[in-house]
């Protein structure tokens, strides 16, 4: 994961042109894969025959993202996490669109959010298991994420009004020094 992207930018919103270019390539390449005759048929088939459309869409998106990530790595390109995050969202939208065009029942927004959540969680889990992200890096990313406005809201929601049941989201660990190894 790239350094510092979890930090909030306080100034006027600006996107690094390099990231924009990377994103453009990511999306264009992803759409090329999704609409390739061979892959689109396979993706559609897998989604349509799946009992769990949420998981099928999440898996299909992950497959395309991983393919793109591997391809980028082979070309010595390090994709930023923002490109992955927003690019995956767009590609998931495209996958859902072709699946719906091929006959899948329209997917409600709620299920789309579930699919995106599932894909994100699987991605992070796999990244740690394969060593792409070390546990120390993940912890540091977590600390950075907590400092963002969204992260603060999430931590607040974790600590407010949540009964201590197994269903609750994990509580934020107490602050402690971030590992020396950076993200």
């Amino acid at each position: 994961m790239e350094n510092g992207l979890l930090k909030q930018e306080q100034a006027e919103p600006q996107v690094d042109p390099k990231h924009q270019e990377q994103y453009d390539l990511f999306v264009a390449n992803g759409i090329t894969i999704i609409h390739n005759e061979k892959t689109s048929d396979m993706l559609i088939k897998q989604i349509l025959k799946a009992e769990d459309k949420v998981e099928a869409v999440a898996n299909a998106t992950l497959n395309v993202v991983r393919k793109l990530e591997d391809s980028a790595t082979a070309n010595k390109i390090k994709l930023s996490e923002n490109v992955l995050m927003h690019g995956a969202n767009v590609l998931m939208g495209e996958i859902i669109a072709i699946a719906e065009a091929a006959g899948m029942e329209p997917m409600p927004d709620e299920e789309k959010e579930h699919a995106y959540s599932l894909a994100t969680s699987k991605y992070i889990d796999a990244a740690v298991k394969t060593g792409k992200i070390t546990p120390e890096q993940l912890q540091q990313m977590g600390e950075q994420a907590k400092q963002t406005p969204d992260g603060q809201k999430i931590v607040q929601q974790q600590s407010e009004g949540q009964p201590a049941t197994s269903e609750q989201a994990p509580q934020a660990p107490p602050a402690r020094p971030v590992m020396a190894k950076g993200v």
Binding site: D24, N36, H86, A169
Partner: protein, 247 residues
């Protein structure tokens, strides 16, 4: 599910990579950019917490993602939609200023150009702007969704101000309703009153739901089967001894 995909062309421009023929497609994110940011933020926090506590990373990430999605949805106004229209539209109808809707099917509606990283706005990088205007893709015509199906990501209203304004508006509305009750002396007035009561009830549900969600967010349980699957995988131990290993 391995995919035998064409090799992504990183070295060349996106326009060339995508073929630049055939149909123009405005790629639209599956979900609002702000919710995507919330989900990823929550997933990272949840996964990191699991590392700290020694829990299951997938489970922690998924629970965090769910909470992040809910929180972002509430924050952006998506979570208080009654099902008839986005919250921003409802609030606009009530005279509360909300963000202007984005035109559907416009490539820039998913654009992140101009949006900061990790900011809670509907954001996304603009697929067409930087690299040679890659707004056209070689898409199988039979799979191109109709333009109307390209949903527009909901645009978040300005949250705290918006809810503050909403509260003021509702107070005024409730006061008006109370006044109307005193004046109700005829059938027409009673009918008018009934209508006002119904409207007040509908309007009252909006902040009511928002308050309920923020005061004590109940985590839904849709992820349980996925976390259960993960737990099963974690518990699974490959049989030993078949290849000479000791049991």
């Amino acid at each position: 599910m391995p995919i035998a995909a064409p090799v992504a062309a990183w070295a060349m421009g996106a326009a060339t990579a995508a073929g630049m023929t055939a149909t123009t497609v405005a790629a639209v994110g599956a979900i609002a950019g702000s919710v995507a940011v919330g989900i990823v933020t929550g997933a990272v926090i949840g996964a990191a917490t699991s590392v700290f506590t020694g829990g299951n990373i997938f489970e922690g990430a998924l629970k965090g993602a769910v909470l992040g999605g809910i929180t972002a949805g509430i924050g952006s106004g998506i979570g208080i939609a009654t099902g008839l229209a986005p919250a921003s539209a409802q609030l606009s109808a009530m005279g509360v200023s909300a963000a202007a809707p984005v035109s559907s099917a416009a490539p820039t509606s998913v654009g992140m150009t101009g949006a900061p990283f990790w900011e809670s706005t509907a954001s996304g990088l603009n697929p067409a702007s930087a690299v040679g205007g890659a707004s056209t893709f070689n898409v199988r015509p039979d799979l191109v969704p109709a333009a109307g199906t390209l949903a527009t990501a909901p645009v978040p209203a300005s949250n705290s101000l918006l809810y503050s304004e909403l509260g003021k508006g509702l107070s005024k509305g409730i006061g008006d309703v109370a006044s109307a009750k005193i004046k109700a002396n005829s059938d027409a007035a009673l009918a008018e009153q009934a209508k006002a009561d119904a409207e007040a009830k509908i309007a009252g549900n909006v902040p009511g739901e928002f308050e309920a969600r923020t005061a004590n967010i109940k985590m839904p349980n849709w992820w349980e089967k996925y976390t259960a699957q993960a737990a099963d995988i974690a518990r699974y131990k490959p049989p030993t001894g078949l290849l000479g290993g000791a049991r």
